[in-house]
């Protein structure tokens, strides 16, 4: 007799997906919380790292993929250094970010992190090498806070750390091949 209920096949639950892609045994975390305690940015996160592990266990996919927390992790690895089980929590964060991206899930609020990342990458795609000052000015202009870092900027200028040339970024010889990497990745992902 065929079963009427279609049970999830092995390897298809959210927990199993995350475990397979991150290589970390999420279900084995015993919730000591040292990853969250050591994380330099857990105060910026809407969900703490140890809570994230618990939520994966319970299959709470949507709130996790929309969370600010997964976009806040910069992969510094303090969680791994603190974990008594040697767990690479940042790998789990990375996996969640990649799943969110593949599924087209946008963050509910990202404190400017995602938009900054994209501006940064646009700058690299255009110039081949990052134009730090150009990026800072563009980010602050887009956020309507052009004067925010003006004191620090003025000090850098005064000290000769940055010059007038930095305000007019130039394309390096590497701009063309780097631009092609960006375009080819877009094409590749369009094909998949």
């Amino acid at each position: 007799m065929k079963m009427a209920v279609d049970l999830a096949r092995e390897g298809t639950t959210f927990l199993e997906q995350v475990e397979a892609r991150s290589g970390e045994k999420v279900a084995e975390c015993y919730q000591c919380g040292k990853c969250s305690g050591g994380c330099p940015f857990s105060s910026l996160m809407d969900i703490a790292p140890n809570q994230i592990l618990e939520m994966i266990y319970y299959g709470l996919e949507e709130p996790l993929l929309r969370s600010r927390a997964i976009r806040t992790c910069i992969g510094c690895g303090t969680c791994e250094a603190n974990c008594p089980a040697g767990f690479k929590m940042y790998r789990v964060m990375e996996t969640l970010r990649h799943l969110a991206r593949e599924k087209g899930v946008e963050p509910k609020a990202d404190a400017g992190i995602v938009s900054f990342n994209r501006l940064f990458l646009d700058n690299v795609a255009r110039f081949g090498r990052l134009q730090e000052i150009g990026l800072a000015l563009e980010y602050n202009r887009k956020k309507g806070q052009l004067l925010r870092d003006s004191a620090m900027g003025a000090r850098m200028f005064f000290k000769g750390m940055v010059g007038a040339a930095d305000l007019f970024p130039r394309r390096s010889a590497t701009a063309a091949p780097v631009g092609r990497i960006f375009r080819k990745i877009e094409e590749m992902e369009g094909r998949e």
């Binding site: 105060s43 690895g77 090498r129 620090m152």
Partner: protein, 290 residues
């Protein structure tokens, strides 16, 4: 010996003082840095967060260029560049499918023959502490420093593959060999706030401010760093420390290569220490180092 040199975007921008002192100190010790022609941005944290394939491709392009130039070692002074370049090499190694994809993207061959080194490894492993000590002409006697490593130089541990992820000592050994007094402190590998310097400067100010406070409590004259991003963020911390703990509650942050170059007998004029946001000259004069 010759090594490939990957300055990265910051060392061509706000981190010029690091670039100049790093090249100078290496040359005095017989390591000749050859800048990789046509290098491009490693993609840093934004690429890693946004798109793993992009991140690997942007970094791998530089590995391939260094390999084509015949370099065995590629030296990346910036902690973030070091971490991302090295991670890309590790991901490609043993994954032929990814390697083929990367070759198609970067339009270059890459056989995985280049070893990525950070600058501490150059002095500890290529030069050696004993050889370095013998070349010290003006020891930094009486200068009390705390060594600040931050995150990506030593973590994630399997990427850095170097020193200890929580209590590293390689920079301590270098500074001791240069004659400085290295003080024990607890913020060696605390995070400075990294790329949140643009999006959440108040978070960076607090994280770095607490690092500055610990340096003060340790009784240091200077904080010594090995990363242009940490250096920038510690300046935000400098402001925070002054605001929250009172005037005078702060100290300059310098690159370790600047102190090393001075100890090796390089003239301060050959460096650009005046470009520091917090002037280190008063304390260096007081200790009769410059």
């Amino acid at each position: 010996m010759k090594v490939g040199y990957y300055p990265g975007c910051s060392l061509h921008g706000t981190g010029k003082a690091y670039d100049i002192s790093a090249r100078t100190a290496m040359k005095v010790l017989g390591v000749m840095p050859e800048e990789v022609a046509d290098w491009s941005c490693c993609g840093s944290t934004p690429a890693e967060c946004e798109n793993p394939l992009l991140s690997t491709a942007l970094s791998a392009r530089n590995l391939a260029l260094a390999e084509a130039a015949g370099h065995e070692f590629l030296v990346a002074p910036c902690a973030a560049c070091f971490s991302h370049l090295k991670k890309a090499g590790l991901e490609i190694a043993g994954n032929e499918k990814l390697a083929a994809k990367i070759r198609e993207l970067i339009e270059l061959d890459y056989q995985g023959q280049v070893k990525v080194l950070n600058l501490l490894q150059v002095f500890v492993d290529l030069v050696g502490i004993d050889a370095l000590r013998k070349k010290v002409k003006k020891p930094l006697t009486g200068l009390r420093v705390v060594t600040y490593y931050g995150c990506l130089l030593v973590r994630p541990a399997h990427v850095a593959g170097f020193d200890d992820p929580v209590n590293p000592v390689s920079l301590d050994r270098i500074m001791e060999a240069a004659g400085a007094t290295v003080l024990p402190w607890g913020a060696k590998t605390d995070c400075c706030g990294a790329s949140f310097t643009m999006t959440n400067p108040e978070v960076v100010a607090e994280a770095s401010g607490k690092i500055m406070l610990q340096a003060l409590e340790a009784g240091a004259d200077l904080v010594v760093t090995a990363c242009p991003m940490c250096w920038m963020n510690l300046y935000r911390g400098h402001g925070y420390a002054r605001e929250h703990f009172g005037p005078g509650k702060t100290m300059p942050t310098v690159y370790f290569t600047e102190l090393l170059a001075l100890a090796l007998g390089v003239s301060p004029r050959a460096l650009v220490m005046k470009k520091h946001l917090v002037n280190p000259y008063p304390v260096l004069r007081q200790k009769q180092i410059v």
